[in-house]
C-alpha cells in the first residue's frame, strides 16, 4: 500500500512536470498536434517530413478523436487540432469564453467508401438506397437484387467524425439537424480496421470507412447521387473532381492565424510535398 502511495506521488510529480512543460516548451520550438483518429497517421507523416527540414522542431502527434483535439486546443494543451468535422456551436462558445479564436485550415479531402464482401453480387447503390439500408428500412439483400440474406449493418462508434459525417450526409441528406438516426440494430465498431475485418469475413455485412482502408478483401461499391446519375467509384480522382457523392474535408484548427513555427508547419502541409503525403496515405489532396 505504501509503495502504491509513493508510486502515486511520483506519478503526480511527473504529471505536474508534464503539465508545466506544455506551455514552457512552446518557446523551445515544439508543436503539439492532437485530434481525429482518421488523421493521426497523416499528422504523423507530416510531422516526420517537416522534422527533416526543421530538425530543431519537436512535434508530437496524438489521436483521441476530433472532439478531444478541439477540447485540447480550447484548453491550450495543444497547438493544432486535427478534425474530420467542423466545430460545433457549443465548442465555439467555449472557445470564446476562453478567449481562443478558432481558425480553420482545410488541408485534405477524404472519400467515404461503402464496402461489402467480395462475393456479394451488389456493385452499385444510389444514395437513397444507402439511406434506406442504414435507416433499417431495407433489411434483406434480396430487395436490392442480391441473395436472400439479412443485411448486417456496420457503423463506426459515436466518437468517430466519420459516423457523424455519414449520418448528416447520407441519412439526413445534408440536413445536419434532421430527425433520421442509424437503425438501432447497426453494429458500432471501435475502429475502421474492425469494420474492414468484419466485412472481409461476413458475406452479409455492409460497412463504411475512409477510402484508405479499402483492400482486396473488401469490395467498394460505386455510388450514384440519385437514380438518374451515373454510379461513381471511390477513387482519388473522383473525390477530387467532386463526382463521388460521399466525401468530406479534413481540417486543422489553430488558435488565431498561425504564426512562427506553426505557420511554417501549415505552409508545409499546403506545399507540394505536404500534399504528396496526403496522396500517399490514400486521402485526396486539395491542391
Amino acid at each position: 500500500m505504501k509503495t502504491c502511495v509513493s508510486g502515486l506521488g511520483v506519478a503526480l510529480v511527473f504529471l505536474c512536470a508534464f503539465a508545466l512543460a506544455g506551455p514552457a516548451a512552446e518557446q523551445s520550438k515544439s508543436l503539439q498536434i492532437k485530434g481525429s483518429d482518421t488523421m493521426v497517421n497523416l499528422g504523423q507523416a507530416w510531422a516526420e517530413a517537416f522534422n527533416k527540414r526543421h530538425p530543431q522542431a519537436n512535434i508530437a502527434v496524438t489521436g483521441g478523436g476530433s472532439g478531444t483535439g478541439i477540447t485540447a486546443l480550447i484548453n491550450g494543451s495543444c497547438d493544432i487540432a486535427e478534425s474530420s468535422r467542423a466545430v460545433e456551436d457549443k465548442e465555439i462558445k467555449q472557445a470564446e469564453a476562453k478567449g481562443v479564436k478558432l481558425n480553420r485550415e482545410t488541408v485534405a479531402m477524404d472519400g467515404i467508401a461503402i464496402v461489402v464482401h467480395p462475393k456479394n453480387p451488389i456493385k452499385n447503390l444510389t444514395m437513397d438506397q444507402l439511406r434506406e439500408i442504414y435507416l433499417g428500412n431495407i433489411e434483406n439483400w434480396k430487395t436490392l437484387g442480391g441473395a436472400s440474406k439479412p443485411i448486417v449493418l456496420l457503423s463506426r462508434e459515436f466518437n468517430s467524425g466519420t459516423h457523424i459525417f455519414f449520418k448528416e450526409h447520407v441519412l439526413r441528406r445534408g440536413n445536419a439537424k434532421g430527425p433520421e438516426e442509424f437503425s438501432p440494430s447497426a453494429l458500432l465498431m471501435p475502429s475502421s480496421q474492425a469494420i474492414a475485418e468484419e466485412v472481409a469475413n461476413n458475406e452479409n455485412a455492409i460497412g463504411y470507412y475512409g477510402m484508405g482502408y479499402i483492400s482486396l478483401k473488401q469490395k467498394a461499391i460505386a455510388v450514384a447521387k440519385d437514380a438518374k446519375s451515373p454510379f461513381i467509384e471511390p477513387t482519388q480522382e473522383n473525390v477530387k473532381s467532386n463526382a463521388y457523392p460521399i466525401s468530406r474535408p479534413l481540417y486543422l484548427y489553430t488558435n488565431g492565424k498561425p504564426q512562427g513555427l506553426l505557420k511554417e508547419f501549415v505552409d508545409f502541409v499546403y506545399s507540394k510535398d505536404g500534399q504528396d503525403i496526403v496522396r500517399k496515405l490514400d486521402f485526396v489532396p486539395i491542391k
Binding site: V5, K90, Q94, V152, L187, M189, N204
Partner: protein, 292 residues
C-alpha cells in the same frame, strides 16, 4: 530516545495514511462521478435516463436512454456467469481435492497465467477466432453477439473464481473431512455433502467477485459484442454494454454537454452496481469466517 519516538510517530501516521488511502480514493471517485453525473439530471429525468430505450447521444436533441445498455451488460454478465461459475467451481474442487500434487502445481500456475493475459489480447483473439466460429455454428448473420462476449468474459472470470474457491475449499477444517471419512463416507460423498457446505460462503464470494470482474470488463466486450444499442432479445444478438459505451464515447464527448454528463452518470450506475456486487461478496466472505 525522543528522536526514536518522533520517528515512530511519523511511521505510524504514514502507515495509517496508507491504510485509509484506499477508502479515501473510493470516496473521492464516488464524489467526482456524482458531481459530474448529477448535472445530467438537470436536463434529463432520472427515470427517462434509466428507462429510455434509445441511445443517440450525439443527436440534437440527444436521446439518452440507457435501458438497452443496462440490459446488454446484464445479459453478457449472466451468460458469462452461467459458463464460468460451474466450470470454475469444478476446477477449484479438482485442483484442491483430487488432482495429484504435480498436476495441481501445474494447473495453479496455468490459472495464474490466464489471469495475466491482458483483456485486449483476449478480445483480439476472440474477434478473429470465436466470432466467425459462433457465426457459422449457429448460422446467424453476424458472430458479434452477446454470446461471444460472454464466452470470452467467462475466461477472464475463471482465474478469480478458481483461486478464491480453492482457498475456501482448503480452509475447510481438516476435522470435518476426517469425521466424514471416519463415518464411512466415500471421498465423493465427503466432497459433495461436507466440504462443499463448509466452503460455500467462500465459493459464493468467489462467484460474486467473478461477476464483478465480468461486469466491469470493457475492452474485450467492446471488440466482440457488436455494440448495437438495442434491447437484446437473445444471446445470439449484438448488444452494447455500459462499460463499452463509456470507453467508446468519452474521447469525443463535448465537455459540458449532456452527453458528457450522461457518460459520468453511466459511470455512477456502474459504480453502484459493482459496489453492490462486491458488498454481497464481502458479506458472504465474512459469514464464512464467522462460522469457522
Amino acid at each position: 530516545m525522543r528522536l526514536r519516538r518522533v520517528k515512530e510517530f511519523i511511521i505510524e501516521k504514514l502507515i495509517f495514511l496508507s491504510g485509509i488511502a484506499s477508502i479515501v480514493f473510493v470516496v473521492l471517485i464516488f464524489i467526482f462521478l456524482l458531481r459530474e453525473g448529477v448535472l445530467l439530471f438537470k436536463e434529463v429525468g432520472l427515470f427517462s435516463f434509466l428507462k429510455g430505450k434509445f441511445w443517440y447521444p450525439v443527436s440534437d436533441p440527444p436521446k439518452l436512454g440507457i435501458l438497452p445498455l443496462i440490459l446488454g451488460s446484464l445479459l453478457v454478465t449472466a451468460g458469462a456467469v452461467v459458463i464460468a461459475v460451474p466450470l470454475g467451481i469444478s476446477a477449484a474442487f479438482y485442483i484442491a481435492e483430487i488432482a495429484p500434487r504435480r498436476l495441481r502445481d501445474a494447473l495453479k500456475s496455468c490459472v495464474e497465467v490466464l489471469a495475466a493475459i491482458p483483456s485486449v489480447v483476449l478480445g483480439f483473439i476472440g474477434m478473429i477466432t470465436l466470432v466467425p466460429f459462433i457465426k457459422s455454428l449457429f448460422g446467424i448473420p453476424t458472430g458479434l453477439t452477446a454470446l461471444s462476449g460472454s464466452i470470452m468474459l467467462a475466461f477472464m472470470a475463471l482465474p478469480t473464481i478458481i483461486s478464491i474457491s480453492e482457498d475456501a475449499i482448503n480452509a475447510v477444517p481438516r476435522e470435518y473431512k476426517e469425521g466424514a471419512i471416519a463415518l464411512g463416507a466415500t471421498h465423493w460423498q465427503t466432497l459433495y455433502r461436507v466440504v462443499i457446505h463448509g466452503a460455500l460462503p467462500g465459493i459464493i464470494a468467489a462467484a460474486m467477485l467473478g461477476i464483478g470482474r465480468v461486469f466491469g470488463e470493457t475492452m474485450a466486450v467492446m471488440m466482440m459484442t457488436g455494440n448495437a444499442a438495442v434491447i437484446p432479445k437473445s444471446l445470439l444478438r449484438p448488444v452494447r454494454t455500459l462499460t463499452a459505451t463509456i470507453a467508446a464515447e468519452m474521447g469525443e464527448a463535448v465537455r459540458g454537454s449532456s452527453h458528457y454528463y450522461a457518460l459520468f452518470a453511466i459511470g455512477l450506475v456502474l459504480f453502484l452496481i459493482s459496489f453492490a456486487i462486491n458488498f454481497t461478496a464481502d458479506a458472504f466472505l465474512r459469514r464464512g469466517k464467522q462460522r469457522q
